[in-house]
């Protein structure tokens, strides 16, 4: 597979990728395993699991795993530029349209509505993460402490992640040592 072909496949994936992060998994399996037999389905599922445990955007992580697997470092970069190509220009275009008619009252109504939907979506994401977690004493303890740190002490997200990661890993090592 040439780099250009790889680039074009990822441009296509970026353009049809709509909705939540999990949408990318079936698309990747279809493009790289079923249609072209370049990567096995198991490998893609593994990459996806791994992409979720790395920091950053899950879709970007899996894109680079597959790009790297097929064409090395240059492949990872090519795949990445491919997948953000269509979304990037869509955003630039939409933002300028919205900027030009921001005082239109119907657009104001629309933005008011979707702005409210955003809060609902964030709350739904919290609920989904909550339901997908093993909720033991450790979970509740970390959750409450983090919430206090964020809401009352206004700790920044970066510092929250750093501090709580250390505390969490320390507690886990301590627990393991006792059993």
């Amino acid at each position: 597979m040439s780099l250009l072909k790889l680039f074009l496949i990822f441009v296509k994936i970026g353009a049809i990728l709509l909705g939540g992060g999990y949408v990318i998994l079936p698309i990747m399996i279809n493009e790289f395993s079923e249609k072209r037999q370049l990567v096995t389905k198991e490998e893609i599922i593994n990459y996806f699991a791994l992409a979720q445990s790395l920091p950053g955007i899950v879709a970007a992580n899996i894109t680079m795993f597959i790009g790297y697997k097929l064409k090395g470092k240059l492949g990872a970069v090519t795949a990445m530029i491919g997948i953000i190509f269509a979304p990037f220009w869509t955003i630039i275009l939409l933002a300028s349209i919205i900027g030009n008619c921001i005082h239109n009252q119907y657009l104001q109504g629309l933005l008011w509505g979707v702005g409210t939907a955003v809060i609902a979506l964030l709350l739904l994401t919290v609920r989904e993460m909550w339901q997908n977690s093993k909720r033991d004493l450790f979970f509740y303890l970390m959750f409450i402490l983090a919430l206090i740190a964020l809401l009352i002490f206004k700790l920044s997200p970066v510092n929250t992640v750093i501090i709580f990661s250390f505390v969490g890993i320390f507690i886990k090592i301590f627990q393991k040592g006792r059993t």
Binding site: A15, L17, L18, G19, G20, G21, A49, L50, Q52, S53, L54, P55, G56, I57, V58, A59, A60, N61, K69, K73, A76, V77, M80, I83, I84, P87, F88, T90, I91, L94, Q105, Y106, G109, L111, G113, V114, G115, T116, A117, V118, A120, L121, L122, L123, T125, S133, F139, M142, F143, I144, A146, L147, L151, P157, I162, F164, S165, G168, I169, K172
Partner: protein, 174 residues
């Protein structure tokens, strides 16, 4: 606008956000508080547009935030800076795939990040809700959407469309 600050801040987002989708929102919320690059109202618009346009939401919202901050160059820089940490990690980890995934430290880290991500997203929701708490119409819409979601799980676009139409209808009829 200082591009170095922009690059540095989005690099940090790429390095410290875990959990896909909306995981970058708490960081963007924090940036609006610290630098005032965009208002909370604009942040909500950015999230809405990032959710209904193609492409990964986390990337789209970085593109939009960069654009708001410092034009097209800013949107390119913000997007790339957010991805670079992933790039470095993917290259490093591709060599030690299995070992990495089964390591006790990595497992503990992921166990820890779940409750933290929940707390971060909840606190952002509270922050975004605060200016709207006395807007009765918004609260009714929000509660309606949450009730709808209890009936069945829908795509984000579903909520955006319903809420957008409601918003326009209110302008026309009320």
């Amino acid at each position: 606008m200082n591009y170095f600050i922009l690059i540095y801040e989005f690099f940090k987002i790429g390095l410290f956000s875990f959990g896909g989708g909306y995981a970058t929102i708490p960081f963007l919320y924090h940036l609006s508080e610290v630098y005032g690059w965009y208002t909370l109202q604009e942040l909500k618009q950015m999230i809405a547009i990032a959710s209904v346009t193609p492409g990964p939401v986390g990337i789209n919202v970085a593109t939009y935030a960069g654009l708001k901050t410092s034009g097209i160059l800013g949107s390119g820089l913000a997007t790339l800076s957010e991805i670079i940490p992933s790039f470095i990690l993917v290259i490093l980890i591709s060599k030690i795939l299995k070992k990495f995934h089964e390591s006790f430290i990595v497992k503990s880290l992921l166990e820890t990040l779940k409750p933290i991500s929940c707390a971060m997203l909840l606190s952002v929701s509270v922050g975004l809700l605060r200016p709207q708490i006395f807007d009765i119409k918004a609260m009714i819409l929000l509660i309606t959407l949450l009730i709808l979601s209890y009936k069945s799980k829908k795509d984000p676009i579903f909520y955006m469309v319903i809420a957008g139409i409601t918003g326009i209808a209110i302008k026309i009829f009320l």
